[in-house]
């Protein structure tokens, strides 16, 4: 099934987004010299990435996805700077081909795999997921991807593989944010093998039916919709099957604030802010916050993974 003629789920609701896009482009075309206007985004030469061949996925949320602009100009990707619009500004020239992922650890088929080796055998699905940041804002993102588990099985993990560890590219020449020690580079993340094999966990290679914009973690990133966004490691170059729980970047930075699991949980507050409610991006200046759902609303599918685990201690 090709994507060219099929109506994608977001296209039904995209008219207002499309109009907003026109406003946005018109607006950002007006040059503003003053450094005072910290929030005005200068126009960056941006070509939309090419379209991908995708199929529909029946499990998508029917909530309206955020606009392309929301999704691609408000990003936490510290490798390109710590302000939300920095990745949009600084990642436009990031070159993501060729791209190699090193697979290692407790599996029978370790090795270096090209992007094409990783992605081509899989059918790409349009999966619209809720996305909840640990900073108490949220979006709805139409990802393109495939189940991580389908890929991991190809590497034939053995019975010692209890966890899967991931690393982002470390290349300060190409990722200017890595020139300052804001986090311990390279960024690293991890999942239990059960979490990694869960059908909701995907490797994503695009949004809105197009290849992944650089500022969003190109060319290949993790998406775990029931966890806080920072678990979704971007620009992955290493996948390792491990016996022991891997260390993760934000946990190394502030262990009291960011646990290994980092499941979305409205009852366990971050020490510095409440997780009970979230601000939906795109709702406007005067919109109220909305209640945060346990496991970001994916509890029916994933709660069993944590049966018997004290989620207050294992945050």
């Amino acid at each position: 099934m090709t994507s060219k003629k099929r109506i994608r789920s977001w296209e039904i609701t995209s008219e207002s987004n499309y109009l907003n896009r026109r406003d946005f482009l018109r607006g950002s075309g007006i040059a503003l010299g003053g450094a005072l206007a910290a929030t005005a985004l200068p126009r960056v030469a941006e070509a939309r990435p090419p379209e991908l061949e995708t199929v529909a996925w029946p499990g998508s949320t029917d909530e309206a996805p955020n606009s392309w602009e929301d999704i691609t100009t408000y990003n936490n990707f510290y490798e390109f700077g710590t302000a939300k619009e920095d990745p949009y500004r600084n990642a436009q020239d990031f070159v993501t081909r060729p791209w190699t992922v090193r697979v290692s650890g407790e599996c029978d088929r370790p090795g270096d795999y090209d992007y094409e080796d990783i992605v081509n055998p899989h059918t790409l699905e349009d999966r619209v997921y809720r996305h909840r940041c640990v900073e108490a804002w949220s979006m709805v993102v139409p990802w393109v991807g495939f189940p991580l588990g389908d890929l991991l099985k190809r590497f034939e993990p053995n019975s010692n593989a209890k966890y899967v560890a991931f690393k982002t590219l470390y290349d300060p020449a190409r990722m200017p944010g890595q020139r300052r020690p804001v986090l311990r580079w390279p960024y690293r993340e991890g999942l239990t093998i059960e979490e990694a094999m869960h059908p909701l966990t995907i490797l994503s290679v695009g949004v809105y039916g197009r290849e992944m914009p650089n500022q969003k973690g190109a060319p290949i990133r993790l998406v775990v919709p029931w966890k806080y966004g920072f678990k979704g490691i971007k620009s992955i170059v290493e996948i390792e099957f491990t016996r022991r729980r891997p260390r993760t970047s934000w946990n190394l930075s502030a262990p009291r604030e960011y646990g290994f699991y980092s499941n979305v949980n409205p009852e366990v507050d971050h020490p510095r802010w409440s997780q009970a409610r979230e601000r939906r991006i795109g709702a406007g200046l005067f919109a109220p916050k909305q209640p945060t759902l346990m496991f970001n609303g994916y509890g029916e599918e994933v709660a069993h993974l944590y049966a018997g685990l004290d989620l207050r201690k294992n945050y």
Binding site: A38, T73, D269, R272, S274, R277, L285
Partner: protein
């Protein structure tokens, strides 16, 4: 500088101090293609907080600047800058309490009690409110020597304000540390001068 010149100069300084507000209004109204960006609530809170801190540091720079340059008239701008600091911080607090929390008192009180950076910020705001309320000429006269003592609260308020910023940042501490360095310089100069003054006149015990 003569008094009438100072009065004349106050007009453009007042106008310049309103520029951040003007930018904010333009961005809220979405004029000329400007906007508060993708997360307008966060942008509003950060913008007003940043300008509150900026004016607080400008206010604290007046006395050292006067001393270094010998231009005594500078002090006549101090109250205006202090009130602009309070003005932007009042907008900061109202943006948080009114627009972010929609005046939900339960959530606001929980934040003040349980989120340390909000506790600090709120304490600083209360202190500066007391200073703003007693900033009139009439209050200066009525409070007499106690006025000066009361208005030394600006030092702990500024420290708590910068600390508030430091504690809210997740990992990139560069900007809060720059504010901390600026504040340390301004307070350090005062401490140094005081120490030298005491050493120079050890016998001048208070009556």
């Amino acid at each position: 500088m003569k008094a009438k010149h100072v009065r004349f100069l106050k007009v453009p300084v007042f106008g310049l101090s309103l520029v951040p507000l003007a930018i904010l209004v333009v961005e809220i109204l979405g004029l000329w293609g400007l906007s508060l960006g993708t997360n307008p609530v966060e942008a509003l809170i950060h913008f007003t907080g940043t300008w509150g801190l900026n004016f607080l540091l400008i206010t604290l720079a007046v006395t050292p600047l006067r001393r270094l340059t010998g231009q005594a008239w500078l002090v006549r701008f101090r109250r205006m800058f202090g009130l602009f600091a309070f003005f932007y911080l009042a907008l900061h607090f109202l943006s948080y309490a009114g627009i972010d929390q929609r005046f939900a008192l339960g959530f606001i009180l929980e934040d003040i009690a349980e989120r340390p950076y909000i506790t600090l910020g709120f304490a600083a705001f209360l202190m500066l409110s007391a200073l703003a309320l007693t900033s009139t000429r009439d209050m200066v006269r009525r409070l007499g020597p106690r006025w000066k003592k009361l208005h030394r609260l600006v030092y702990p308020a500024a420290i708590l304000g910068v600390w508030h910023y430091y504690w809210l940042v997740k990992a990139d501490l560069l900007e809060p540390l720059l504010y901390a360095a600026g504040l340390a310089l301004l307070l350090g100069m005062r401490a140094w001068w005081r120490w030298r003054q005491r050493r120079a006149a050890p016998s001048s015990s208070p009556a």
